[in-house]
């Protein structure tokens, strides 16, 4: 099991750095659309973590959550983009 643990540690480090970068972009902006895009990438990082956990522990329990996360990201992006274009025309 040490091989699986090494992979988990490496994936944890990589995804933590990726999530930190996207959260920094959400914090500094500069525009609302940049933040929406970064939030979408943050959801993709979360999906990557869920899929990695499924692969390492050999089950499919997270697949529904993975799809739900991508639906939420889609609806969020479309709604915010629509809102921005309606407000400033």
């Amino acid at each position: 099991m040490t091989g699986a643990h090494a992979v988990l540690v490496a994936v944890g480090v990589i995804l933590t750095l990726a999530a930190g970068g996207t959260i920094y972009r959400i914090a500094v902006g500069p525009s609302l659309l940049d933040r929406v895009l970064a939030a979408d990438v943050l959801l993709a990082v979360l999906g990557a973590a869920l899929a990695t956990e499924m692969a390492v522990n050999r089950h499919l329990d997270n697949l529904v959550l993975l799809i739900a996360v991508s639906v939420i990201g889609f609806i969020g992006s479309v709604a915010v983009a629509r809102f921005v274009s309606d407000r400033r025309g």
């Binding site: 990726a18 972009r25 895009l37 990438v41 993709a44 999906g47 990557a48 799809i67 990201g73 274009s85």
Partner: protein, 131 residues
Amino acid sequence: MDPSPTPLDLLIDLLSIVCILAGCLMSLAAAIGLLRFPDLLSRMHAATKPQVLGLLLLLTAVGLQLRSWAVVPVLLVAWIFQLLTVPVAAHMVGRAGYRTRHVHRELLTVDELDEVVQSAARGETPDGRPE
């Protein structure tokens, strides 16, 4: 882990480790792209990597680890769903960015939409005929 892994098991494990690490590095690449690229459209280019290719690699790793053909359609449906929704969301974000002047025009090589917008503003179709 099986009690006595065969060489094929080791090969599949190695392949899935490569898929997992490559898929997670896509997320890191997207984060670096978000931090370093100068404007919205180039950041959108970076953001698609973990959403499409990263997810494909990770779902491949899940399929390899489960060692079952029955899960392949389920994983494929999850990936195709992502493949259908990501372009729509990107289109909406890009459209809103263009309309709210978040696109840096000096960074663009060609702006084909500008021609269409200008001719629509003059009340013509893009090939010059009156509407």
